[in-house]
């Protein structure tokens, strides 16, 4: 079952690690996020907080993906079927130079 989850994550472009987390704990991990339970814990807390946001009283959270952006890499996070998927991707975009 984990291969079905992780196969798609493996193929994400520029990915340097991923985590699949459930309410009980980490289901799968790889790359730079391998065995990273600390990051999993922090991201779970962020997801729980973010999922409580509502716009104009709509019943669902107003977003599909949460991105935690650092200078060189990004954590892309989403929730599907009671599982949290986290992918660490390289951030190759360069900041535009304003002249």
């Amino acid at each position: 079952m984990t291969t079905a989850l992780t196969q798609g994550l493996e193929r994400i472009p520029d990915q340097i690690g991923y985590l699949v987390i459930s309410e009980d704990g980490v289901l799968a991990s790889s790359g730079e996020l391998e065995n990273d339970e600390h990051t999993a814990g922090v991201i779970m807390q962020m997801v729980r907080t973010a999922c409580r946001f509502r716009l104009h009283g709509t019943p669902e959270p107003p977003f599909k993906r949460m991105s935690v952006m650092f200078e060189d890499y990004v954590y892309a996070v989403t929730v599907s079927g009671q599982k949290v998927f986290v992918v660490k991707r390289q951030n190759n975009q360069r900041e535009p130079v304003t002249v």
Partner: protein, 159 residues
């Protein structure tokens, strides 16, 4: 074993005695407010101290609960069963309300997690714009201040 006592009541005439400081004020030139005893009369404070000590001892003796000396009375079987039943029914009532406190389940954001995670990252330009807007908001909030127009405390002119 010890006991703690405190009271929020306003000090009555009786309490004034209990609240008088045990050690007389060191500076005889400037007596503390409300103190009437002169610091140069130590012998006359002895009976006060003794009375105070006795009051404290008496109060402690009254309030103290000595657990080790308590005699454990055996309960009869039917009493025990009754109590056990009473407690378990109470627990059952409480646990039904407690179980409702489980954290909300995670909502599903998408049915295509791989596609969502693989799609384009947030453009740097968008990120810079949002950071700028947030900085403006922060600056605006930090400039919120109270504009005092009038004195809050005024003197009433009494003719």
């Amino acid at each position: 074993m010890g006991c703690c006592y405190s009271s929020d009541n306003e000090p009555t005439e009786q309490d004034n005695d209990e609240r008088k400081p045990l050690i007389p004020h060191p500076n005889p030139d400037k007596p503390a407010n409300g103190t009437e005893r002169s610091p140069a009369a130590p012998p006359s404070t002895r009976p006060d101290e003794q009375a105070l000590l006795n009051t404290i001892l008496h109060r402690t003796a009254q309030s103290i609960i000595d657990v080790s000396a308590a005699d454990s009375q055996g309960m009869e079987q039917h009493e025990y069963m009754d109590k056990a039943r009473q407690y378990s029914t109470k627990l059952a009532v409480l646990s039904s309300t407690l179980s409702q406190k489980k954290p909300a389940p995670l909502p599903s954001l998408t049915s295509q997690p791989h596609q969502v995670l693989a799609s384009d990252l947030i453009p740097t330009a968008d990120l810079l714009q949002v950071s700028k807007i947030a900085a403006y908001a922060y600056s605006a909030i930090s400039q919120i201040k109270v504009d005092a127009k009038e004195e809050l405390v005024v003197q009433f002119a009494v003719p």
